[in-house]
């Protein structure tokens, strides 16, 4: 609809001549036999109808198109085409290494099955070591999540447009998108050299993405608060903090807690990955040792199962929380 209105020149060009109304007038003026009359009426009705739709898109033969590609569909098709083109280009130019491809596939599948079907210890770690490592990773995730939640809560109050001014809000959002643009692992590696190896570097490095994610989630949920309630409180002379704690926080507590838990799930995954690369400890570091120093797939398998157990429990809980508290429908 909007398309036709926007582009009358194009639609006008598709209309086959402006003489349609005149033909219609001539058709009705000529009397004849009943059949011809009916046919003529039919034709006139059609051409009158055509005159009613001067903007209808037509094919070359003059038929009205029943399928017209709108601007959005064209954009979808173009996006898909570009993505497919880039994918093909990338797959063609990719460096596949010097390995025999199908043998390598078989080998990888075999290793995967060995990892999943025969997990076990091979003397490099005890079960207690690995479980301790798992708890260290969980503890890192807990610290990151909770410290991040507190920082993010304060920042998101200033990032929500309805509680703050637009300039401050945009400044905070820009800072957050910078935090998000640097990969987590780089934050951790940078802080590892800046303040030394240890849980502090891991937690501070993980904090950046955690804060950026939670600020986005919290501030968007704050922006949904009923503006009438805010106005009512303000007109009673409530101070800014009173508005926040009487109108915003009570309504949004469960949603904020759900987002925080969802971030906890992500932080656990990140804590494992970061432990592997930055030597920040935890089960990730043991996974790294088992994989790239001892080359022991059975130990990798056991560690993977421990991580899977925690991650699946967290994922199920996070999905339930999202369905219950976040998706409004």
């Amino acid at each position: 609809m909007t398309n036709r209105e926007k582009n009358p020149a194009l639609a006008g060009a598709a209309t086959p001549g402006a003489s349609a109304p005149e033909t219609a007038a001539a058709g009705t003026a000529t009397p004849g036999a009943a059949v011809t009359e009916a046919a003529a009426a039919c034709v006139s009705a059609l051409s009158e109808h055509a005159a009613d739709l001067p903007f209808a898109r037509r094919t070359r033969t003059g038929k009205i198109k029943t399928r017209v590609m709108g601007k959005q569909n064209a954009a979808v098709a173009l996006t898909l085409g570009i993505l497919a083109g880039l994918t093909v280009f990338s797959l063609v130019t990719m460096n596949y290494g010097k390995v025999a491809f199908f043998t390598a596939f078989g080998q990888a599948a075999e290793d995967f099955l060995m990892m999943m079907l025969q997990p076990g210890l091979a003397g490099h770690f005890t079960l207690a070591d690995v479980v301790t490592g798992l708890f260290v990773s969980i503890a890192l995730a807990v610290l990151t999540t909770f410290i991040g939640a507190v920082i993010a809560f304060v920042l998101s109050l200033f990032a929500a447009v309805n509680l703050s001014n637009r300039m401050l809000s945009n400044a905070i959002k820009a800072l957050m998108s910078f935090f998000r643009a640097v990969p987590t692992i780089l934050w951790v590696l940078v802080f590892t050299v800046a303040i030394g190896l240890g849980p502090e570097a891991a937690v501070i490095g993980l904090l950046f993405h955690s804060v950026a994610y939670l600020v986005k989630a919290y501030s968007e949920s704050f922006e949904e608060v009923d503006p009438g309630v805010l106005e009512a409180l303000r007109s009673c002379g409530a101070s800014w903090w009173q508005t926040v704690f009487a109108a915003v926080v009570p309504v949004k507590t469960s949603e904020m807690l759900s987002w925080t838990f969802i971030r906890f799930e992500i932080n656990f995954v990140n804590a494992v990955a970061v432990g592997a690369v930055a030597g920040a400890g935890g089960i990730g570091y043991q996974l790294f040792l088992a994989g790239s120093f001892y080359y022991n797939i059975h130990e990798v398998g056991l560690i993977v199962y421990l991580c899977l157990a925690v991650a699946v429990v967290l994922e199920v809980a996070a999905t339930k929380l999202r369905k219950r508290y976040i998706v409004h429908s």
Binding site: K71, Q72, A75, V76, T79, L83, A84, L86, L91, M94, N95, Y96, G97, K98, V99, A104, Q107, A108, D111, M115, F135, V136, I138, A139, V142, L143, F146, S177, F178, A181, V182, P183, T184, I185, L186, L189, V190, F191, V193, A194, I195, P199, E200, V203, V249, T253, A273, A276, L287, F288, G291, S292, Y295, I297, V300, V304, C307, L308, A311, E315
Partner: protein
């Protein structure tokens, strides 16, 4: 009336205090367990940022390496796009088979969900090792690791969006007697295509960031270049790599936001 109100407010304040206490206790427990020093880390943050600002600033001579950095960044971006798109195609097929509204139903639905969850939750570090054992150090290893994690993630997202979006129109087509493939082609695909593209764009962004980690582990792409200079203490060049990644991610985010506005 006032008593009821008072009770309500008291209960609300109590629950906020309780949430806060849980936060503090969990933090103390976790902090004690890993030996996290809160005071030191608060002091460390400004010091760390100052150190970073003086050491990770790209120097003039680091720009000599810009050719190498840009070419590996380019290959990383291409690999991320390819991994996201191929994973999306496969994930969409899986999600259609496993969805509640158009799925084959029964055990297939459960199996698809289990596979998606498995692929998503196996740590990416473990994938990197398994692939590195067989495919050695090549771009394809990085691509495949990204592909596997993206596949798990996208299957889960697509399962949700297909069920959310196409329930009514699938039922309508089924009522007219349409077969399985016409239903998929005429109802499921057109209804969910915008969210499918939106998720692919999000995945490309995420994959460019994750490619750094996978690159460090498998020795490919921009992650390898970063690791090389980071481990040889050339922090100025490592800083330049970070700046380039930031630019790439922000450009990618801007392009996806533009495309999203066009298609929705």
């Amino acid at each position: 009336m006032e008593a009821v109100g008072g009770q309500f407010f008291r209960r609300r304040s109590l629950s906020i205090v309780a949430v806060f206490l849980v936060f503090v206790i969990a933090n103390a427990l976790a902090g004690g367990y890993v030996g996290f020093d809160f005071v030191a880390s608060i002091a460390d943050i400004p010091a760390g940022i100052a150190w970073m600002a003086s050491n990770f600033v790209p120097s003039v001579e680091s720009f000599e390496k810009i050719g190498q950095i840009l070419s590996s960044l380019g290959s990383t971006v291409l690999v991320s796009i390819a991994a996201s798109c191929t994973a999306a195609a496969l994930a969409f097929a899986f999600a259609v088979l496993g969805s509640r509204s158009v799925g084959i139903g029964g055990p297939v639905s459960v199996a698809v969900r289990a596979i998606a969850s498995l692929f998503r939750n196996i740590p990416v570090v473990a994938w990197a090792f398994i692939l590195l054992f067989s495919f050695k150090q090549s771009e394809f290893t990085g691509f495949f690791a990204l592909f596997l994690t993206s596949f798990g993630y996208l299957t889960r997202c697509y399962l949700e969006s297909i069920d959310e979006v196409s329930g009514g129109s699938v039922e309508a087509l089924r009522a007219t007697g349409a077969g399985y493939f016409p239903i998929v082609a005429q109802a499921v695909v057109p209804m969910s295509i915008t969210s499918v593209i939106s998720w692919v764009l999000y995945m490309i962004e995420t994959n460019i960031r994750d490619a750094t980690l996978i690159g460090i582990l498998t020795g490919t792409g921009i992650g390898f270049v970063f690791d090389l200079y980071y481990k040889s203490f050339r922090y100025d060049i490592a800083g330049l790599v970070i700046v380039m990644i930031v630019i790439a991610v922000i450009v990618c985010e801007a392009v996806s936001n533009y495309v999203r506005r066009q298609i929705i």
